[in-house]
Symmetry: C2
Subunit: 306 residues, 2 copies
């Protein structure tokens, strides 16, 4: 059983209208809220990431979800569960990293407990004032698909950390990809631009689980076809040395870019258009492919979850 099946059980049990986007919109309070966890040896390894980087990334991935909702990141709480071998210097460096990732928000509370492994769960609250809030179910035929952030770098960084050699790459290039994986940047300026300039409904989502996943999730929630041109996706050109680099760009994940479907794309990077239909259509130079949800899930599983 997979995460998506579990979420269906939860939605059915709660009979809740709130669950569907990464953030819940609480209109009466003027906020959006999200909570994401990072688990040692599932999402990170102490072998690869310093305590500072862990703190930084744990906060940034939640800030990214708030940005994808269109709200302004404002407050965070952090729950840490830690094994006995973690000491005060870990905590200090972790919180230094967390503090450097807040993009103007404040860390206001949390919890510390014991555990066998490191568990980090962060909640972020964003303010909706003067912002038009997105939903992945708000894409409409005729809207342009716009993007922020380079894609593929984080996935390659993880492969390098995991021991794949890539003799084609220089050490400098490798360091860049590793940094993209360990210290992602939420696209707060793009989010602010979109949520303060779009008049009508629009979809927006971060690409934490991969660009193709985000396109597919919007397609499914909005019942539209998301058609993009592969060559328009911003990416680090050094990626092209790698065999099947297009899979890295589409399915690698953890780039924490953002995609949106907008009526007004002035000054934004357009990679495609929302059309009638269902699924994700990707145009390459000489051919195109159309993926349904199942294809995307299988690709992600095959390339990155084995």
């Amino acid at each position: 059983m997979k995460e998506k099946d579990f979420i269906k059980i939860i939605t059915d049990t709660l009979n809740s209208s709130y669950i569907g986007d990464d953030c819940a919109l609480l209109e009466d309070l003027g906020i959006t809220v999200t909570q994401d966890s990072l688990v040692e040896d599932v999402h990170f390894s102490r072998k690869f990431a310093t305590p500072y980087q862990l703190g930084y990334k744990s906060v940034m991935v939640n800030i990214s979800d708030i940005c994808a909702s269109g709200a302004e990141p404002k407050y965070l709480t952090i729950a840490l569960s830690l094994p006995d071998d973690v000491d005060g210097s870990f905590i200090k460096d972790f919180y230094k990293g967390a503090k450097d990732a807040v993009l103007g928000a404040k860390i206001v509370g949390g919890d510390i407990t014991g555990a066998d492994k490191i568990y980090i769960s962060v909640t972020a609250i964003g303010v909706t004032k003067n912002r038009n809030i997105s939903s992945r179910s708000h894409a409409k035929t005729g809207q342009k698909i716009v993007i922020a952030g380079e894609h593929g770098s984080s996935g390659l960084g993880l492969k390098i950390l995991s021991g794949e050699m890539y003799p084609e790459l220089s050490n400098f290039e490798k360091e860049e990809f590793i940094k993209a994986h360990l210290m992602p940047q939420a696209k707060s300026e793009f989010s602010e631009k979109i949520s303060t300039s779009q008049k009508g409904k629009y979809a927006m989502m971060d690409t934490s689980d991969g660009l193709a996943d985000a396109l597919s999730a919007i397609s499914e929630a909005s019942s539209v076809l998301m058609e993009i041109d592969f060559q328009k996706i911003p990416h680090n050109k050094s990626l092209e040395i790698i065999p099947n680099y297009s899979d890295m760009i589409l399915y690698g994940g953890e780039d924490y870019g953002i995609i949106a479907t907008v009526d007004n794309a002035d000054g934004l990077t357009v990679i495609g258009e929302v059309k009638e239909g269902l699924g994700v259509k990707i145009n390459y130079d000489n051919f195109s492919e159309t993926l349904i949800r199942k294809d995307v899930d299988e690709k992600i599983y095959k390339h990155f979850k084995e």
Copy 2:
């Protein structure tokens, strides 16, 4: 190094004025927020608690913190990290329990990931409208110390679950204590009564880490002596069969009662008074003792953390 040392490091690193109470008060948003985690084999065991009970308790302990702030519980998010052997029926029962514990609040989001053990982190948001919000630093000399909830039952329930025999107790009594441990009740009516009736500043805190711990934390944060009469503490009379039952009442923890220091104690259960000085003074029938923070920490550690 202990939790309190870690919290000092965090407060120093963040240089934050928010950290100190279980809930953070976000005045601009009109909310209080708290986040608490429960970790398998640290806070609970699948041998003792059903999935329904786990969901129930995970939510209730966070609702209790919101109640202790004086706010009205309104929204919750739940992050679950689960081992491979957890299936859909676990999720369903967990969320049924969670839903039955919300006391009018709504579960609006969260996260599911993998992990080696079950890790549950819940964030709760309370609304401050028409409520006077508490702080543990707001106790004043001359205020009455009032209480809600029976104390000692949960601690004894845990000892019974852990295999201690207590032949003095009937099976019916044992079941009552076990239920107090597995399915605690947040004191929302008491919280509402206090936070809508008190005009001035007051301290309020739940007794999740033990009644003596809560008294000591308020004493420390407010620089006052908290003097109580032991015989006035509400408790299940069956507890008195147990040797050293007073330790269970004072240090057992997880009863999720609430104590408050109030100017107006009409219709409330008074157990003592706030005095000049520092520490916790407990009057028994024939003697009294005064505990400082260190004494309380040692008692909790000796009796319940070994």
